[in-house]
C-alpha cells in the first residue's frame, strides 16, 4: 500500500489543520468536560469605572482681565471668566442587586490639572435620588478637595440598589488662576464600587 504524493499532501494538510487549528483555538467543539477541579476562580467584589472630566466640557475660556482667578463648576456657575456655563456633573448608579461602598479619586492634583498659582480642584457629592447613600462618609453637598491616592475618598459606605434610591451625583469645581497652564486640559475621575 503506497500513498501517492497527492494523497500524502492532503493527509499532511489535514493533520496540520487538526494540530494547529483545533489544538489552539477551536476547542469549543469539545468543551464542557471538566476532568478535575484545577482552579479556584474568584470574581472580585469590586469594579472601577473611570470617566473623563473632559466629558464635562467647559470649552475654551480665560480669566477676566484684572482678576487673579476664575471659578467654574458643573452647577452652572462661571465667576470672573468667560467659559460657557454648564450644568450637570457625573451620575453614578447602582444598577446591580447588592449594596456597595463607593470611593472616588481624581487622576491629577489641582496643580497637575490646572497649574498656575494656587489652583483649586474640588468635587461635591449629593444624592441624586433621596436616600441613595445610607451612610455618608464625606460631607455631602460641600466642596471637597480631590484625592489622587489609592481608591481616593470613601464617599459612601452603604449605597443601596433600590431602583428609586440608587443614584449619586458628583459635581466638579475648578478655580483657575490667571497664570494657569494653557491649552486643553483633561483629567480622569475613577469611581470604585465594592460589593457589601
Amino acid at each position: 500500500m503506497v500513498f501517492s504524493s497527492k494523497y500524502f499532501i492532503i493527509t499532511l494538510v489535514f493533520l496540520l489543520f487538526l494540530i494547529f487549528g483545533l489544538g489552539n483555538n477551536s476547542m469549543t467543539l469539545f468543551t464542557g468536560k471538566v476532568t478535575q477541579s484545577a482552579l479556584n476562580i474568584t470574581i472580585s467584589s469590586t469594579a472601577s469605572i473611570n470617566f473623563s472630566v473632559n466629558s464635562i466640557y467647559f470649552g475654551p475660556g480665560s480669566v477676566d482681565v484684572g482678576k487673579n482667578k476664575a471659578t467654574i463648576d458643573t452647577l452652572g456657575n462661571v465667576i470672573d471668566g468667560n467659559w460657557s456655563s454648564i450644568s450637570g456633573g457625573f451620575i453614578l448608579n447602582n444598577i446591580g442587586n447588592s449594596n456597595l461602598g463607593l470611593y472616588i479619586k481624581s487622576g491629577k492634583t489641582a496643580s497637575e490639572f490646572i497649574g498656575g498659582t494656587n489652583p483649586e480642584y474640588y468635587y461635591m457629592v449629593r444624592n441624586e435620588e433621596t436616600n441613595s447613600c445610607l451612610d455618608e462618609t464625606v460631607t455631602f453637598n460641600s466642596w471637597i478637595a480631590v484625592n489622587t491616592s489609592g481608591y481616593g475618598d470613601k464617599i459612601c459606605s452603604l449605597m443601596g440598589y433600590d431602583n428609586n434610591n440608587d443614584s449619586i451625583r458628583i459635581d466638579i469645581k475648578l478655580a483657575i488662576p490667571s497664570d494657569a497652564l494653557q491649552g486643553e486640559r483633561e483629567d480622569i475621575f475613577t469611581a470604585t464600587g465594592i460589593s457589601l
Binding site: 500500500m1 487538526l18 472580585s44 453614578l92
Partner: protein
C-alpha cells in the same frame, strides 16, 4: 493499488489521525470555565457587582469599567491558562494578561476592562469569558 481501493484507506488514516489528535487535545485539557459577562452602554455610569458573572455595569462614552478575577492553580503540577471571549462583548473586552503558566499553588489576578467608543450603539452587550487550563507540557499549550 486501484483508485477505488485507496480511498477507504485514506479515510481510515485520516480518521485515525483525527482521533489521535483529539485524544491529545482531550488529554491536554484540564479544565474549562465559562463565565457570563456583560455591560451596558448608556448615558450614565452604573455599578453591577455580580459575584457570579463578570458584569461591568453601565458606562458612557469614553468611560472604562474594570473588574478582576483571581485565578489559583490547585493542581499539583504546572498548568497553562488561556483566556478567550465570545459574543458581542468580545469587541470591547481587554484582558491584562493572557496565555500564562501557573505553577503548583500559584495564583494570579487578571484585570478585564471594557471601553465604549463614540460610535458604539447604546444597548446591552453580552458574552462569555472562557478560561481554559491545559497541562503545561511545552507542546500543546
Amino acid at each position: 493499488m486501484e483508485k477505488r481501493n485507496k480511498i477507504p484507506v485514506i479515510i481510515i488514516v485520516l480518521l485515525a489521525l483525527f482521533f489521535i489528535t483529539l485524544f491529545f487535545i482531550r488529554w491536554n485539557l484540564v479544565e474549562e470555565r465559562v463565565i457570563g459577562s456583560s455591560f451596558i452602554f448608556g448615558e450614565r455610569v452604573g455599578f453591577d457587582l455580580n459575584s457570579s458573572a463578570l458584569t461591568f455595569g453601565m458606562i458612557k462614552t469614553g468611560s472604562t469599567s474594570t473588574r478582576t478575577i483571581e485565578i489559583k492553580n490547585n493542581k499539583n503540577q504546572e498548568v497553562y491558562v488561556s483566556i478567550y471571549s465570545k459574543g458581542e462583548i468580545s469587541d470591547f473586552l481587554k484582558v491584562s494578561d493572557n496565555d500564562f503558566s501557573l505553577s503548583e499553588g500559584q495564583n494570579k489576578t487578571v484585570s478585564f476592562s471594557v471601553t465604549a467608543k463614540n460610535d458604539t450603539e447604546k444597548k446591552k452587550y453580552d458574552g462569555f469569558v472562557i478560561i481554559r487550563v491545559r497541562r503545561f507540557n511545552g507542546f500543546f499549550k
